[in-house]
């Protein structure tokens, strides 16, 4: 991707799109950290500020969508440019959903403001750290066009799922032993579930980056394998001489 487009205006449009996406992703990353911090530190003001910040993310989604449509209409992009634009259209949706999930956590932080936590938050902040790193790495991989780094994000989702299962079991047993803890337990379980969902969105982001870089779709590989022989027909180029 080192070469520049002959048409510099086109180059600028793509650059602008990339910058908007990065800014949006950066904002979402902060929201993940702030939402969990507002919960752990029972910081209602931070929770409210974070909810407010979600409006910026929503606006960014609309802006990126519009920019993509204009570029599609004006430039009829091809190959890696085309993959970049379609990727951008999908990435904003995942980023926006992560922002919404962070808002959910903030709302819970506001609800739980006066309540003593069931126990010190340990695994939930850990989950938040993993998700945040996954989003950051997916975006870094996107900027660098680094399929390997994106692939590592996909692989990390399993550890997040594992952590979620652990949190879920632990909360379940706490609630089973003490009925007075059920309400707080359910809230805590929701928070863990939302972080797990964020991980799924981060995985989507990373899979899309792999597609952008390699032009190869790695989504649903296990479910699709064996059902179709190949995505495109074998090329009919004659065998190269000496082949």
């Amino acid at each position: 991707m080192g070469k520049l487009h002959t048409d510099r205006e086109y180059e600028n449009e793509l650059k602008k799109l990339r910058e908007r996406l990065l800014r949006m992703a950066g904002r979402v990353e902060e929201m993940i950290a702030d939402s969990v911090r507002s919960l752990v530190e029972q910081d209602v003001a931070l929770a409210r500020r974070t909810i407010e910040a979600d409006h910026q993310v929503d606006r960014a989604e609309v802006e990126v969508d519009e920019l993509c449509l204009v570029i599609l209409a004006k430039r009829q992009p091809m190959a890696s440019d085309l993959r970049f634009i379609t990727l951008s259209l999908k990435m904003v949706t995942d980023l926006e959903r992560i922002g919404d999930l962070a808002v959910n956590i903030c709302e819970r932080a506001i609800d739980l403001d006066q309540e003593a936590p069931l126990k010190p938050w340990v695994d939930v902040p850990r989950m938040a750290n993993i998700v945040q790193a996954m989003v950051r790495d997916a975006i870094d991989a996107f900027v660098a066009g680094d399929a390997e780094r994106a692939q590592s994000v996909v692989e990390r989702d399993a550890s997040l799922d594992e952590l979620y299962t652990r949190v879920f079991r632990e909360l379940l047993s706490t609630m089973l032993h003490d009925g007075s803890k059920v309400e707080r337990g359910i809230h805590a379980q929701s928070v863990a579930k939302w972080l797990e969902r964020m991980g799924d969105h981060a995985t989507n982001l990373a899979e899309q980056v792999v597609f952008m870089v390699k032009g190869k779709d790695i989504r649903h590989l296990t479910t699709l394998e064996g059902s179709s022989p190949a995505a495109s027909p074998a090329p009919s180029a004659a065998p190269a001489k000496g082949a």
């Binding site: 487009h5 086109y10 009829q76 091809m78 090329p235 180029a237 004659a238």
Partner: protein, 262 residues
């Protein structure tokens, strides 16, 4: 004659091109091209000016050799038959492999009807009767019949440019070819006339094999099943069109189709 290994089993291909090189005098314009063109498909040939794409299709019906000092090496087989075999009559070959050019070129002194029949007259194969039927069939296939059926005796050059191009397609179809070569057939046409030709290409594929040279990547993406990218006389990449325009394999193809060229 013993055929090299990779020339066998090319039956489904209309054209099998092997080790094709072409020259104008000392200047080599094609380098060792290997390519199969499938029957009843549209194959697009793209690449920057001077890449050899027009020369390539002109080799397919031996129009390249009409230029003094032009020559080729290598093999081109049409349905398994060597196009450059000494026993092949180039005029009859060009009947089987018709051509439509960049600028519509109806014969200026001829009516619409005479233009359609011109190819048959040239090869002295116009039947005594049935000319009307041939004219109607060719013009219908070229999606022009409804627009000109009441003006068959008017001069061909009196039609709009887009109609003239379809008239030239009808002229090529009248001799009942197998293959239609199109050398930038829409570059002189407005978007509506272009859409008509592109629509026509989709329907012509049922009966003919189409090879189209185009400067418009979008056009290649729209009309063709496979796309060949030429650069400096070399075939860089030949793949399914959907693949070339979404995920080309070669970075030179990528640079060209995304506009990062020169």
């Amino acid at each position: 004659m013993a055929a090299p290994q990779n020339e066998v089993a090319v039956a489904p291909h209309k054209f099998a091109v092997r080790a094709l090189s072409a020259w104008f005098g000392d200047k080599r314009v094609l380098h060792d091209i290997h390519l199969n063109i499938a029957a009843h498909e549209a194959t697009a040939v793209i690449g920057p000016s001077g890449c050899g794409k027009s020369t390539f299709i002109r080799c397919l019906n031996r129009m390249h050799e009409l230029v003094a000092s032009a020559r080729i090496e290598g093999k081109i087989r049409l349905d398994g038959e060597d196009v450059y075999d000494g026993r092949i009559d180039p005029v009859l070959l060009r009947r089987r492999v018709g051509m439509v050019f960049q600028k519509p070129n109806p014969f200026p002194s001829m009516s619409v009807r005479e233009n359609v029949l011109a190819g048959l007259r040239l090869t002295r194969s116009l039947p005594e009767e049935g000319g009307d039927e041939i004219v109607e069939r060719a013009l219908s296939r070229a999606a022009l019949w409804d627009e000109v059926k009441d003006r068959l005796e008017d001069p061909g050059v009196g039609l709009s440019v887009g109609q003239q191009q379809r008239l030239c397609i009808a002229r090529a179809l009248a001799v009942n070819p197998d293959v239609l070569l199109m050398d930038e057939p829409c570059s002189a046409l407005d978007p509506i006339a272009t859409a008509k030709i592109e629509d026509l290409i989709h329907s012509l594929k049922q009966s003919y094999t189409i090879v189209i040279v185009t400067h418009s990547m979008q056009q290649a993406a729209r009309v063709s099943d496979r796309t060949a990218f030429f650069l400096s006389g070399n075939l860089i990449e030949f793949s399914a069109t959907d693949r070339i325009f979404t995920s080309p394999r070669d970075s030179r193809t990528e640079d060209y189709i995304t506009g990062k060229f020169g």
